[in-house]
Point group: C2
Chain length 310, copies 2
Amino acid sequence: MADFRPGTAEQEAFLDSLLESGLLIDSGVPGIYGRGGDFESVCSRFGRLITDAADDDGSETLRFPPLLPRRQLESTGYLKSFPHLAGTVWGFTGTEAEAVTQSERASCHEDWSQYQSMGDLVLTPAACYPVYPAIAARGPLPQGGVLIDVGGAYVFRNEPSGDPARLQMFHQRELVRIGEPDAVAEWRDLWRDRALEILRGVGLDVEFEVATDPFFGRGGRMMAASQRQQELKFEITGQIAGPEPTALASFNYHQHHFAETFGLELADGATAHTSCLGFGLERIALALFRTHGLELSEWPDDVHAGLEWK
Amino acid sequence: MADFRPGTAEQEAFLDSLLESGLLIDSGVPGIYGRGGDFESVCSRFGRLITDAADDDGSETLRFPPLLPRRQLESTGYLKSFPHLAGTVWGFTGTEAEAVTQSERASCHEDWSQYQSMGDLVLTPAACYPVYPAIAARGPLPQGGVLIDVGGAYVFRNEPSGDPARLQMFHQRELVRIGEPDAVAEWRDLWRDRALEILRGVGLDVEFEVATDPFFGRGGRMMAASQRQQELKFEITGQIAGPEPTALASFNYHQHHFAETFGLELADGATAHTSCLGFGLERIALALFRTHGLELSEWPDDVHAGLEWK
């Protein structure tokens, strides 16, 4: 299992207050929490703000389960960049006698890993991944490309932490733009302004910044430097339980990477560009509870109005 | 990986028509599909019918991610009854050099399983599982017990199949009742009638039946016989793509099993009983598309009204 990374005293105190208030529910594993009704309600109300804006842009709705074909993960280079964050799904294919031993060991909390073998599925590491092969399978893109609304999709990161803003399983409220390079860049600029407006509209103090992904190892530092230099990743950051601001939303511009991997072609046969924008629903809810207090009914009227509270 | 079970010719033809129409989206792994907007819309509209009814009963909303602590699965006996259906989550904890080899093997679609080790998490096998320890942690139940609305939760079954009604990852629209044995039985009877009414209200031809779980191996046949004799499981079945009717919803009465495992106590200190009701959202959507046709806009007016279509 991955090493546990403790949170700061402030982060762990915030987590305790969330658990005490019933906004989050302890599971026994750090980074895996149940959610109470108020927490869920904030996530779904915020998600609807994104749905409404994307609907106005003529987005197409697609949804995907939180599991991806292992073969697809193998093709994307994810295991080169983020081997430490990936999760694979294993299962039992043994005999009845082996099933008995496996069950007996498990019931004593002893090691039963030898009875499991790797299957065809992995946990989805980013909500946009299943979109590219799905769109590529349709053939060349229509003129102007496509905008896909993936909804609030569960993604997995193998990083147990005491910081409630660093979950192992969380929702990315994700939009994906595929098309001509100019159109993709224009869409990103549109949403930079719109995302700032939506987040500020619910009373969050946020900034737009050039950012990098948490690439693995020494080679990863070079990948991060190159990503920063080319300005391929931006984040909207805000304060949750410090010391540093946390990314509440993130834009990734993949240029032709996914299009080449999956064969996404423009109407004229050229390779498409892709970009995605993900809002971290749990992080946004945490920032809201941190900013406006743990008692949802006591939030300021303009925040309720911003969330179109009934 | 688990053996693939082909569907019947009728089931596979129905799957083909769903993929062609864009209602489902192929991933390359049987039983893992994306969903188009119309499919998603039917699932969420149907789910809301359950939400509205549960709200009227004073249910409490809780939500859980599709991963569960492995230790919890080990404690429930799931691996004795259903070892073939469970999924465990593995990850990488090796060196930088090992990460390079893992990535190289993976990119050639060669075996990289030796670099993965079993972690602390498993895929949630049933939407009710995380509820029991969460409620037990609160201490003795209030008088009358509790009714929990878990929403539409993703659950995993390791059973790749060519039948579109047998998914590896699907949504259980789940309610859980915990309380005195009489109260739990009364709740089940109430929902038997209500679930039939809701499903018939959207034009599905359904029946209520005593049922059994798909227990593993020879020992499992005895467990199934005992379950049937005690009438601990009921299903509401309907036709999708035959030959047999398929369970669209399922009631499980666990008596004191989960309450003893997790220490769920009544107000007077006695052991509680538990029961759950799960609607298979994808199966219900499939039954609706099979019954009313693949073109949502052409469904009968009374079905749209039954789904409170806007």
